[in-house]
Symmetry: C2
């Protein structure tokens, strides 16, 4: 039924535009309603990620005064978690909510729109998307797959993950079976770890049964929700793999093009508002969960030894270089990404970083 | 003329609600237009602050499909820079854009909704506003002045300011004439500095003529725009005074109450989107300006010696305590603020701060 709505809307959009070229699209469609489906990579109402998708849909409905509704579906309801990209490209649903690096096997450059090891922070990444070439490159690459992308939320910095044994040297990492996707996973492989990817919902059992020795998921809020502290004692807080992780909204390009201008503005600004809202929520919920993990569940917080961090840095630079050499789109995107990081980082260092050091040093 | 619009709209709003209690406000007002004026504390189109107010107005107009317009006025066009609060409270304009700590002489607790020395970062502050009691307390305190407040933008971390002479000890601070407002100014007074406040536009001449020895303004982007590097050689990047600075939108409460629900949502979400947009813009523009200051203008970056930072921390805690003892509203707000900072800071430390250290330590 929802599928029918979309097709009808899309064709009306084209017909309306053709019949009345001098009437603004917004006026011509002032009384039309748009009822979209959104497929997601998260369990329905999953903390911050799933609820963040719901919040985006609520914003669109409120801002449009009910002219546009979005029905949010959990992973597996309409399509499986990792088929969101294909489903939205094909028009099975008008919109998806996921993370761009999940599509790395299909679109290598998508990696750079979520997270890069030792890459930009959340603030730097948003500056690249809104004031650098980030959004334009993302648009161009996704348009080839009939998609229009937006940043719709961010997890903020992610933890390095859960380990069953303490890591005191690079030797201790050898042969560990670790769940960690993407470029960071490749970097870990480069220092002797054996990484795999699997949906978040399988991590608990895999750690429990010994299929995994260690696993990265998101951060305290989501990790606590999956009970990972029950199956691993050491929580590594060294942030290197995902200094930020932008979540993506993908919109079928035909559905996007069929929207009148004011509803395009509604979607654009609801995405921007959701980007900040989800990041703010993670800052609060992660902090609450961290307190619970340490105070109630006796979780041991650890950081990797310096030699591990140095090896991970070298290895991640090599993994990025390999990808950039293999793929022209990746080369263009990473050139823009790394040039922008060079511009914005000095201000992060004398601004945010200088302050966090100040607050630390005065013993507050 | 704009004033007339506002009064007409406000009374129609009340009448409509009374006459048709079972018709949603939004439906009853679907064809009404709302034309507001916004007075600001910034020169018209001033980098990021003035243009950020313009961007907010543009968002409201686009999201409402033209049903609501906001005409933005620079400081001095309708009312002087520091009369925004009173003008909006009185209904001279429906809305203002400014910084809440400017009203500290009138509403002491307003300080805490902009910046607190050694207080929360931008991310922590937004979490307090959106997920803690921050917004509710701000609403309550401003409602007593016939105002509804929103965070509409953020400068991010601000620099410690421009000094004509290098600071190598606490002794070097004695008797310096420094432009620095608010609690941070009081903290400086407590360590032997003599602070004053003055509008940003007067800083350049005051430094040039020797009325000032030093001055804080905002950060590289706005400081470069005022040419402060031409009248002081040392730029202190130690962030302690304003780890974040939220900008405020204030709305006359009668004008706010007269809006239908969908336009209330438009204003709320345009404010949230603008909050992120301005912060992202500052991250980029400050970085560009910092590069220009150092590479083209040979500005010397410095940080305060440890003994100065330690003294500023002690002194700022005393200044906060004095205010909290003197004013019941300040006590309530600061209790919420500091409790929230205690909750969120540990995650900032293992997240953002841990990452910035990692990126630094690997020598990237």
């Amino acid at each position: 039924m929802q599928r029918r709505h979309f097709l009808k809307t899309a064709s009306l959009g084209v017909a309306g535009a053709a019949a009345a070229p001098f009437v603004s699209t917004s006026q011509a469609h002032a009384n039309e309603t748009y009822n979209w489906d959104m497929v997601t990579s998260w369990p329905k109402n999953f903390p911050a990620l799933g609820t963040g998708a719901n919040d985006f849909a609520r914003r669109v409905e409120q801002l449009s005064n009910g002219r546009m509704t979005i029905t949010v579906h959990g992973a597996g309801e309409l399509v499986p978690a990792l088929e969101v990209f294909d489903a939205v490209a094909a028009g099975t649903a008008e919109m998806g909510h996921s993370a761009s690096y999940y599509w790395r096997g299909k679109v290598a450059a998508s990696q750079f729109f979520t997270a890069v090891p030792f890459g930009m922070t959340t603030t730097e990444m948003n500056a690249w998307l809104y004031h650098g070439d980030g959004q334009a490159l993302w648009d161009e690459i996704y348009a080839q797959h009939n998609l229009k992308p937006f940043a719709v939320g961010n997890t903020g910095p992610q933890m390095a993950g859960w380990f069953k044994k303490e890591i005191n040297s690079l030797d201790d990492m050898q042969g560990l079976k670790l769940r960690l996707p993407g470029l960071a996973g490749e970097a870990m492989n480069g220092i002797g770890v054996s990484t795999v990817n699997m949906p978040g919902s399988e991590i608990f059992t895999s750690l429990q049964t010994g299929v995994l020795d260690a696993a990265d998921w998101v951060g305290p809020y989501n990790d606590l929700a999956f009970g990972l502290h029950q199956v691993a004692d050491y929580y590594y807080t060294s942030v290197w793999n995902e200094p930020t992780a932008a979540l993506e909204g993908t919109i079928n390009l035909d559905a996007w093009n069929a929207l009148p201008d004011d509803l395009k503005a509604v979607v654009t600004e609801a995405a921007r508002a959701s980007n900040l809202a989800m990041y703010s929520e993670f800052a609060f919920r992660n902090a609450q969960a961290l307190e619970a993990l340490v105070d109630e569940h006796d979780v041991q917080l650890r950081t990797f030894p310096e030699e591990v961090m140095a090896a991970l840095y070298e290895s991640s630079q090599k993994a990025i270089q390999r990808q950039v050499e293999d793929d022209e789109a990746s080369r263009r995107v990473y050139e823009s990404y790394s040039a922008f990081q060079k511009i914005v980082r000095p201000f992060s260092d004398v601004g945010e970083y200088a302050y966090l050091k100040s607050r630390d040093n005065v013993g507050s």
